[in-house]
Structures are given as C-alpha cells and as structure tokens.
Point group: C5
Chain length 354, copies 5
C-alpha cells in the first residue's frame, strides 16, 4: 500500500523555508538536463555540475531545465539562487506530499502536479509530485525520479514537430501539464478494465478475493480523486490568465487540458459510484448464498428429523407395544415415513424453496 | 456492457490537434449530406467527394451539413479547411468520449452532445457523441453513425412546416438540440416502465435476477446522469446569449429546451433515489426470508429433538429399567411426547412464529 | 402507483409549439368559468362557447378565467388568441408533467404549480399540474380536473371578505398560490400521522407489511420533494418583484407564502430523514429477531443432542457392555443427563441467552 | 413523541391574516407583563386588562412587554392595534410551527425563535415558538407557555447589573436571543451525556433497548437540527445591521451569539455523525453475536451428530453383526467416538472458533 | 473518551462578558512568561506577579506574553486592563470549547485555535484551546496547560535564527499558527499508521476489537475534522489581509500555512473515506465467516442425519422385519450409508461448498 502521509514530523519546529527533503529517495543521483530552443535552433545537454552556474548560448526564446530526483538539496539551492526562487517554493518542491496547487510569485508561477504511476508490484497506484516553475522565458520541472512522461514533449521540441518551437515558455508548461493529464487516461483505462473484470466475477463467482480487490480499487479511487480534483482549479486559474506570464493564445490550449481534467474527474466519480454499487451487490450475493445454504439444511433436517423420531419410537424396549407384533406394522411404518417425507417436499416446493 | 472509457491511450504523447479517431468504428463509410434553405426554397444533396469543395447555389440563408461516421479523418480535414475550424475542434469531434460542452471560438460555437441509444442486444444503453458547429449562416453536425433522430427536423425543413424556414442557423441548431433532448424522454419512459416492473417483482417474488436487473439499472442511471447533467450548463450558456451567433428571438426556445433538460435530470434523480430505495427493500426481503427459513428449521428441530431424546431413553438396553415392564408405560410416554410437542407449538404461537 | 413519466414520446419530432395534450384525460368536458370583480361589484358566469370571444362587462379591475380539464385543445387555442399567449406557453400548459417554474413573457407571467391529491384508492399521492397566467388585469388558471381547492378564494371574492376585492390581479394570483401551498399542509399532516403509526408498529410488531408501507412512504416523499422544491425558486422570483406585474404591496404576502413553502420543504426533509432512520431500525429488528430464533434453536439443540447421544450409547446391542447389568446404571445415566442439561442451561444463562 | 406537524389544516381556505391559534393550548390564561426602564429607573407590573391601552409612565428608554400563552387571540389583537403590527405578523405569532426567521417590516423587526424544552415525561425534547418584536424603543416577546428562560434577563434589568440598563431595545432583544441560545447548551449537555452512556452500553452489552434509544436520539437530533440551523441566518441578518433598529454597538454582541449558534450547530452535527457511526457498530455487534451463536450450535452439532450415528449403527438389530460379539468392541467404539470428537475440537481450534 | 461538550450550563443566565473558566483545570498555577525582542536584542523573564503592571525595557519591536493555564481569572483581568481587551474576548478565552475563529476588534485581532494532544492514556486525542491576540507590537497567547509546541519558536527568537527577529508581531503570530498546524501532521502520521495496521488486521484476522478500534478512529476523525475545518477560514481571512495589523510581506507565509491546513483537511477526509470503506469490508467479512460456519454445519448435518435415520430404521423392534435375518443385510446397509454420504459430498463439491 502506498503511504498516505509522509514523514513530515521530522520538520516540526524548523523555521519556514528550511530545505529538508520529505519523501522516499527514489533515484540514486539527481539528474539535471538543460534544453533551450527557439523557432530555428535547439540545444540540449546534461548538466553535471551546477557550480559554474547555468550559461545559455546566445539568447534562446525558451529554456527548459528538468531535474529528476530531489534528495540532493544543493542542486535546488543553486537553481534557486540562479533564478531567484523564493525559499518557500524550494521547500514546497522538497515536501513531496503537496496537493496540486498554483502559486503566483509575481516573477514566476509555481505549479504542483501529482503524477500517477502503477507501482512495481502491479497492485496499486503510486503518486509522485511534479513541480513546474514557469518564468518569462524559462520552465523548470522537478520529478521525484526519472520518468519518460515528458519524453514525447522533448521529442517534439527536437524534431520541431507541432507548434511547440514557435511558441513561448507558457506553451511548454502547458505541454508538460498535458502530458501529465494524458498519463491519467492510461491509468483510468487499466482501472476501467479491472472494474469490468470484477463486475463479471461478481455475477458469476464472487469470492473473498473479489471483496479485497473491490476494497483496493475503492481506496485507489479515493487517492486518485484527491490527486486530480485540485488540478481542476489549478488549470482553471492558469486559463483565466491572471498572470502576464500566460499569453492569450495559450488559453485555448489550457481550456482543452481543462476539459480533459474534467473528463478524468468525471470518470473517477463514475467508477466510484459503480464500485459502491458493486459492494451492495456483493453483500446481497453473500446474503443470497447464506439463504441457499440455510435452505438445504432446513430441507434435510425437516424431512429426516420427524421420521427419525418415528424410528426412535419403535426402537423403544417397552414390553407392551402391541404394534410391534403386527405383521404389517413394519411396511406400514415405512409407508408413513415416506408419506411424511413426501408431503414435506411438496410443502417446500409450494414455498419455492426447491 | 458499454465501455466506460475509450482507448485514448493510443494518443498519449501526440501533439494537441493531431487527428486520430478514438472510439468504435460504427459505420462503413462516412456519409455527408448537404442541405441549404431560406424562406422560399430548399436544396438537398449527398456529397460523395469533398475534393471539389462545397459549393452552395446562390446565397442561401442557412446551410446544414450533416456527417454520419467519423473514421474517415480526411473528410473532417476538408470541412475544417473550408470553414476555418480550429484543429482542437476537429480533435474533439474525433475523441468520442467527450462530455457535453460548449466552446465559443469567436467565429463559431462548438457544441458537444451525447445521444442515447438502446443498444442492439436489448440490455443496455449506449451513448454516442454528437457534435454541432454553429456558424453565422451554417450548421455542421457530426454523428458517430447514421441515425434517424434528425429526420423530423429535415422533414420540417423540406415541407416548410413550423417556423424553421423563416429563422436562421441558430434556430436550426436549437432544433437539433431539441431533437436530442426529446430523444431522452423515450429512453426514460422505457426505463421507467422497467423500474415499475422491477418494483412489482420485488414485492411479489424477488429473485437473484431481480438483483442483477437492479444493478444494471443503477449503472445505466449513473451513465445517463453523467451524459445529461453537463447539458444543463451547455444550454444555459447558449441561452444567456453570450455570443452574437444566437439571436435574442431564439432564447425563448432555448429556455424551453432548458426546461426539458431540467425535467430529464429531475426524472433521472428520481429514478436513482427509487432504485436506491429498492435495493434496501431487496436486502430486507432477503433477511426476512432467511428469518422464515430459520423459523421452519427451529420449529421442527425444537419439537422433535426433545421427544426423539425420550424415545432414545426407552431404547436403552439396561437390565433394570422398571418402566419398561409397566403395561401403560408405552401409551403414557406417547402422551408425554404429544404434550411436549403441543406445548412447543403453543410457545411458538405465543411468539407469533406460526 | 402514480406514473412517474408521462407518454411524452408521442410528441417526439413535432415542431415546438405543437399543441398535444400529454397526460391522462381526467375529466369529461373542459369547464370554463369567468369571474370579474372590482371593489364594488363582482360578476360570475360559466362560458359554454368560446366562439363569441370573451366579453367583459364594463371595465372590471380584475378578470379571472378558470379552466378545468385540458384535453379540449381548441379551448386553449381560443384563449391563446384572445390574450396573445405564446404557443410555447400553450404547449407547456398541455404537457402536464412540468416541474414548477415561472416564465416572464413580458406582457404576462406564466407560472406552473403542482397540486397534490390523495388518489382515489387511498394508497398514494397523485400530482396534478396547475398553470396560472398573470396579466396586467387578468388571471387565467388551468387545472387538469375539477377541484375545490380554489373555492375558498372564489367565495372570498363573492362575499368581498378580506382584502381581495380591493387589490389587483397579482393579489389574486398570490391567493391561488397560497391555496395550493395550504393544500400541502393537509397532505403532510396525513403523511405525518401515517409515519407515527408506522413508527409505533416498528417498535411493537414489525411485519413484512411495515416494510412495504415504509417503501411506499419513501417513494411518495421523493415525488413530493420533486414537486415542492422548485416552487421555492418560483415564489422567490415572484417576490423579488422583477416584473411590473407584481406590485410592491403584494411582496409581503408572497414572502408569507414563501415561508410556508420553506416550512413544507423542511417538513418533507424531516420526514425523509425519519423514514431513513426507520429503515435502519427495521433492518436491525429483523437481525435481532433472527438472533432470537437462532438462540432458541441453539439452546434446544445444545441441550438435547449430547444427552440423546448418551441414550444412543446404551441403546447399542454389544454383548459385552458391563454397565447394562448394573442395577443403578439406569438412574445414574438419567442423573448424568440431567446434570449435563442443567450445566448447559447455566452456561447459556452466563452468556445472557436466557 | 412530539408532534411533527401541527393541525394547520383547520386554517385551509381562510384569508391571510386571519387570527387562529395553531398549536396546543399550553397554559390556562395568557399572562402579560410590562417592564420599562432607562439608566436611572425601572418599573414593572402585570397587565390584567388590555382594554385601557398600555400607558407608560414618563418616557422610558425601553419598554418590554412579555406575553405567556397565545390562545387568547384578543390580547394579540389589542397589542397589534397599539403598536401597529401587520396582520401577517399576528398570524405568524399564532402559527406556532414556524421555523426561525426574521422579517423586516420597516417600523419593527419580527423575529421567530424556537425554544427547546425537555418534555415532562423525560423522554424527549419539545420545541416551543418564541416571537420577538423589536421596535425603536420597545420589545414585545411571546411565549407559548410560562417559562423561566427570560428570568435572568429580567433580574439583570431590575438590579441594573451589566450594561443592559444603559443600552437600548436592540440590546434587550439580543439578551433574549442569547438566553434562548444559552438554553440550547444545557439541552446539548444532557444529550451528550446520554450519548456517552449509550456508547458504553453499545460496547459492553447492546440490547434491543439500545437500538430504540439510538433511534430516539437520532430523531431528536433531526428536530434539533431543523430548529437551530435557520437561526444562524436570522442572527447573521441581524448582525449585518441592515435595519436602523440595530445599533452598530450591538453588532459585537450579536457576533458573539452568532458564534454560539455555530457552536451549537457544530455540536449537533458531531452528535449526528456519532450516532450514525453507533448504528453501524450496533449492526456489526448483532452480526458478531449471531456468528457466536451459530458457532456454538455448529460445534455441538458437528461433534455429536457423527458419533450419535455410530451409536445408531450398533443399535441396529441385524442378526449377523459380528462386531457385537467381540469382547473389546464396546470399549473400541467408545474410543473411536472420543477420537472423532477430539479431532473435531482440534479442527475448530485450528479455525479459531474456540 | 474526551468530553464532547463542556459544562457551559453553569454560565446560563449570566450577563455577557462575565468571566468564568469553562473547562477542566489542567495545570496547577497559571504561568506567565514575557519575551520582548527586536533585531538586535532579546529579553525574557517569567512574571510572578502582575500587580505591578507589565513594564517593558526600552521600546522593543515585539512583545510576546504567553499564559499557560486559564483558571486564574484575575491574571486575565489584569492583562485585559493593561492591553484594553474587550470583555467578550476575555470571556471567549475562558470558554475553552470555542471552535477556531478570528475576530477583528480594530485595535487587535483575536484568534482561536484548537491544539491536538494525544491524551495520556494512549487511546485518544484531546483538543486544547489556544487563543492568540495580535496587536500592533504585541502578541499574547493563552494555552490551557503548559506545552512545548511553542518552544521551537521561542528558541528561534533566542538564537535569532531565521527571519523572526527582523519581522514584526504578525510574523510571530504566523509562527505560532504554523507550530500548531505542524503539530497536526504528527497526529495524522500516528493515525495513518494505526489505520494501516487496522487495514492489515481486517484482511488477516478481524476481531471484535478491530471493530472497536475502527469506531474509535471514526470518532476521532469527526472531532479532528471539526477542529481543523474552521481553521481554513481563519487563515484565509488573515491572509486576505483585511486588517492593517497583518503586513503584506507576511501574506506569503500565511498562504503557506493555509496550504498546510488544506493538506491536513484533505488527509482527514481521505482517512474518513478509508475508514468508511473499512467498515463495509468488516461487515462483509463477518457475513462471509457466518456463511462458512453455516456451511460446516450444513455439510455435517446433511451427511449424517439421513444415514442416522437408516440406522434408526433397523434399530426398530418390529417382530416381522425380514431384512434383519438376511446374512448380507448389515454390510449392504453399511454400503448404502457410505454411498449416501459420498453422493452428498459430491453434491457439495458441485456447489463449491468444499
């Protein structure tokens, strides 16, 4: 099970802005990649050492710095120094249990997203914090570990496919957002299939395992819901273009990704409603089966207990039991037993228990 | 069961505006019909080949192009070129899992609706995406497959019945909306009848099948609800006439279709409440019947177990059991047994179990 | 059970404004009564034939036309012609499954209300649509069948009691609204009494019938709730006096009827909460009783099965069973059995099952 | 059980403003007390007869008239005449099933509160309507029966303790409100204690009675909630000082009583959540105990039924049963029975049923 | 269990502003500590006796007075006199069952917070009221008992670490708020771990104790939720900087603590949803186990009851039972019994009960 809350307590009492990485260490070494481009050219390199500062060749239209791995706090500090980031922003980047939000710091926008990953053991969803900083001509993105979600964007920049090379940093930030939201659809597809399988199982052969899968899916939906709901407001705030950093022309694309987010939320809510309904069905099924078990017991007991009693009567050792001497008594008693059993069966048929 | 989510994952990583049809291919060949009319005349033809462009004869007041089938992407591209549609619009038309929405692109309005169809196998409801583009003097509608929901509108245009020939493109768009909403009433009527049948079944003879029908209806209501709720906002946005494309005079008709939508939502919510109540009743019924089964078992066991014990006593083979020799012992024991059974029956009657 | 949705499908595809009566035909012949009054005089007559138009004597302050029965479409058409009503209004009057609403058509206000009637068979509530049209000096009211809810208002006009003769058409419209809302209190009283009876039944002797009454009441509450909730907005819109048709002086009376509506809604919600609680109690009661049944079975079985086994032992026919020969064996075995049964009883008392 | 709805139906059809007392007659004779005070002096008397009008000595700063008992309609009429109260106000005072509200009639404010009383039989809460009319220099309060909730206020006026003598009529109205809200805390304390007792009972020994207490408390919470929720808006409206009758300086006190009201609502909601949780626990407890009962039955039956069968075998009377002749057969069979019973016990221990 | 409501009833009837301590007396003697600092120096002392007034040395930038223990009313009165606090504020400080709120008294802001403490017995959470008064250059904080939550802040002031010495009283108030909210994370971590343990227990071996832990956690979540929800509005009101007491530069820190509060609320809601889901699983598990118990009983009974009956038949003592004489009758009967038992076993396997 993914942890629901991270070890934040180690920070209790420290002054605000203190940089401590909260969360699992998910990668060995922080990896910093640098990419700058304008309509005509595009340069890309990995930065080994941030000590020399970040030099850009010429005056590129857009600079994109991507950091994978957060546990090396000094990397952040240097980036913070270079781009003039507020200490609270650096602190938030390191506290990897943030909910999606957007903060306007005047000179730049700070956006927190949550990326969803199927965790390695194949039985659950893990969330990872992605921070995006959007400046006038730069975008800095932070991931907790190396991932390939942003690769298609990088590829599009390299090849100059689509509009991305012609547009500014805000379009790049949008592209990253779009990648994250697109990623949700894949997760939801997988969950949707699991729900359908579960639903079939529920109808044909519900087991104790069905219940636990149901429980796991419900819990995952809760986590998903918490990760995606606040995103709606984040994108809506971006779209309303309250900051000069987001150009009018990008708003139409933000509306598109907003629509996608709504659709993701909608699907999550639908799934939650369906899972609730399925639990009711499960409970009803158990009750139904208990009923069936009870009926079998009752039928057997009700047929045999009375006739066993009759056999008990004639097993008594009283000296004076005239029936015992009658020649036809035995077959008569057998017939009486058969008739009793038969009438019981008819009674049960009448009650539709058979 | 209708799929809840479509294979959107195939698009992950493509730049926005890439045209890929997402959804089942529901018809063989896209069919494009062209209809133009003003108060005096009305022309209609099927367009085989869009290569020659779309020529209209004279200057008709309103042009209506209807496209059935979305998998031929080139048809869309040509229409997009001709009418100057934004690539994101074309993308949305092809992504057939949109929720109802309205987007104002300045020169035209893009409206997404969801049409409901009973699916062929008679056991569920399928939803289909209908896109409507409203321009100053044209309407373009896209359906996933050929349907006859818009036929009455076409018929009214041909015969010139009603106001439709005298009014503009916005009235035509309203008429299409109205057709879709009217279509909902039919679906709801059918579901309402099914619910009434189910309710009777619940009272008279609930079976395991009742439960599954209940579950299916609940799931359909969830899907219906998701399809219709956002429509309210769509029509409300249209009615508030924020766009010059919608004339003041059409607002009154939009309010009418808005009222219908509210009524559809209201009915869906009523049905959902009723279905919830029915599940409670079902669960109570099962418990009740279990109670009944248990009572039968308990009565039989409680009457016969003690007297079988008495028979067991006198079936023992002890040498010294004086009662066995008494002449009236046998009838006395029988009488005792009868009395025990009788008093048990009285006890159960006292408890109202009989 | 009252139908939840009316056969609206027969209208699918007709142009808006087509006049078709949707709903049961509840009365034989439409009855049109005409009443005009001012502070000094008051005239009243039944209109047999609308062909001659509607002549009013002199210039009365207020004219009130009441129509009982909607299936004669031509009556509506003539009234529509005479008072210049919009076709959509006439259509709405005939579609008797509207939810309460208010539409401002400039020259007049169109108000839809739902009246509640206990249906004839004594087992449910039926709703009826009442349409009220408020013009500058006239009120037209439409009911689905003849009813006596408006009689007190008519009586007050005839006798000149209260303020009604001195005030305008808006006060008359308010009076009609007030009659309809007052009518709700009667229905709620009846339901409240039924709920109290049910609650007693639940505590003393819950039966399968209790469950069905509970289910019926819950369903009626759903229907009631849907009929009354929108009324709140209707009256609130009227009270905010957005139309010059409603005078300032009438607002205070509308606030009064608004308060009554809130009270009706409040009572309905209270009843719904109470009915939900009662279902939980019912389910708990069933479980409790099942527990009791099981205890009886378990006590009987647990006491008699072991001692019956002992009797079975000494009923075996082995040649070498020394106990059988002992003279005190039989009473000793009887004592052992008694002791076993007694200790079982003590055990159950310890568990508080007795 | 307190009645949920009062016999309002007797008023159906009467014109608005007709004075009929709706509700139980809770006291023998209406009692009218008159109190006027300013910073320096304070006069108090009981008014026997209102015929002579209400004379005040000198020009007191504030006059407070308190009426206990509403069934003497003529008392109200005279007060209404004297202070120029609107007939609808008088009607509302008499209709004792109002929800809390505030109406601004220009010259005075009309406030409805609901006071809570533990009813005499010690098993429930009764609500009583308190009406307060706040004029420029007078306050009139109406209670359904004599009560002592306002006594501390009266005492403070007499002794001149606190600010009350120095401040105006609005502060007096606030003091009455505060008394009513303070009264709620006492009720909630009593309910809180009952809930704690119930919670202990639930853990240690839940009985059928626990269920009914739970049900009663839930119902009381529903009624409480309905009585207190609207009060929030009433005080909030007063505090926003929309009327010149409420002075700026009193707003701070109103905010205080507003906070108290929020706290009451908060506590009620907490209790409702807790009671809901307790019902779930109760249901689980019943199921748990049923499980226990079933286990006892199953263990006994599963141990004894098979060995009783073995005894039955050797009780058969076949001529050729060689075992019967063996000398060690009887002890061997006894041993087999013991072994079977023992292995069953081990099996149950393995399943943790023992 | 922490008390849900405190003994407020002892105050009923007293005039507003009367100072009575409501709540448990949690510490022996009120302890007042005085701390003043500016960028350069910092003085600290404990105040034994407030009679001499509060003298500050020089003109410090910020004065912080912290009071632990509220039952000594005279301490409050003196502070109130010295700083000119409104009697209602003093009253609220003493009524320790306030919900979080902020009141703007012009010259100062009064903030109520609720601190969470794990209570001593290790089985529950206790809440404590913390009041903070923020003036232009002073902060007064009140705790119900001595605690160490504010120690890190004090330490930071002493050592001059962080920004705190350079900034004003509003930053100090923020720091106190931040300490309280940080404290919540610790509590939530502990609860989160308890929930995970419970979840494992639920899957592997649910007991009656699991249910009670679940119930306790649910109740704690209700209390937590009530304590934290209103805090959101409090901080939001502070952040919107409606008062000149809160400087622009502090707003960014308040936004940070606001984000933390949202995160706490989010986590609480997630936990509540998870606990609800767990109760459903618990109920299903009980039903499942009951099913299992019933199956064992039914299998045993259904196999042995019929063959015991057969044994009973041949235990009868009829004179004429020809089978008894047959030499192979006994083995044949044994074989029939075996076959019956075997076919029952096959039947149960077919039903998947084995």
């Amino acid at each position: 099970m993914p942890k629901h809350i991270k070890k934040r307590s180690q920070k209790v009492g420290l002054p605000p802005g203190t940089l401590v990485h909260i969360g699992e260490k998910k990668t060995e070494k922080a990896k910093v990649t640098y990419l700058d481009y304008d309509e005509l050219h595009c340069g890309e390199r990995e930065i080994e050492n941030l000590d020399g500062g970040i030099q850009s060749q010429g005056a590129p239209a857009v600079t994109w710095i991507n950091v994978d791995g957060l546990h090396q706090v000094e990397v952040l500090e240097k980036l913070g120094d270079h781009f003039g980031l507020h200490p609270l922003v650096l602190e938030d980047i390191l506290n990897t249990d943030q909910r999606p939000k957007i903060d306007d710091y005047g000179g730049f926008l700070y956006i927190v997203l949550r990326m969803l990953n199927e965790d390695g053991r194949g039985d659950g969803i893990d969330t990872e914090q992605v921070s995006v900083i959007l400046g006038p001509s730069f975008v800095i993105s932070f991931q907790e570990r190396e991932g390939d979600v942003f690769d298609p964007v990088r590829q599009r920049i390299r090849t100059g496919k689509g509009r991305i090379r012609k547009l500014g940093a805000d379009y790049l930030a949008y592209s990253l957002l779009d990648s994250v939201v697109d990623n949700y659809f894949g997760i939801l597809e997988r969950l949707g299939e699991e729900i359908e399988v579960l639903e079939d199982e529920l109808v044909t052969n519900p087991t104790r395992n069905t219940l636990h899968t149901l429980h796991r899916l419900k819990r995952e939906m809760i986590l998903l819901s918490r990760a995606v709901w606040p995103l709606r407001e984040v994108i809506s705030a971006l779209e309303r273009a309250e900051s000069p950093l987001v150009k009018e022309s990008t708003a139409i694309y933000l509306r598109d990704v907003y629509d996608h987010t709504i659709q993701v939320i909608d699907t999550i809510e639908t799934y939650r409603d369906m899972l609730s309904g399925m639990l009711d069905i499960y409970l009803s099924s158990i009750s139904n089966r208990m009923n069936e078990v009870m009926k079998v017991l009752t039928i057997i007991a009700t047929i045999f207990i009375p006739i066993t009693f009759v056999a008990g009567i004639y097993g008594m050792n009283f000296k004076y039991m005239p029936e015992l001497e009658w020649p036809w008594a035995y077959p008569a008693v057998l017939f009486v037993m058969l008739a009793a059993a038969g009438s019981m069966l008819l009674y049960f048929r009448g009650k539709r228990w058979l």
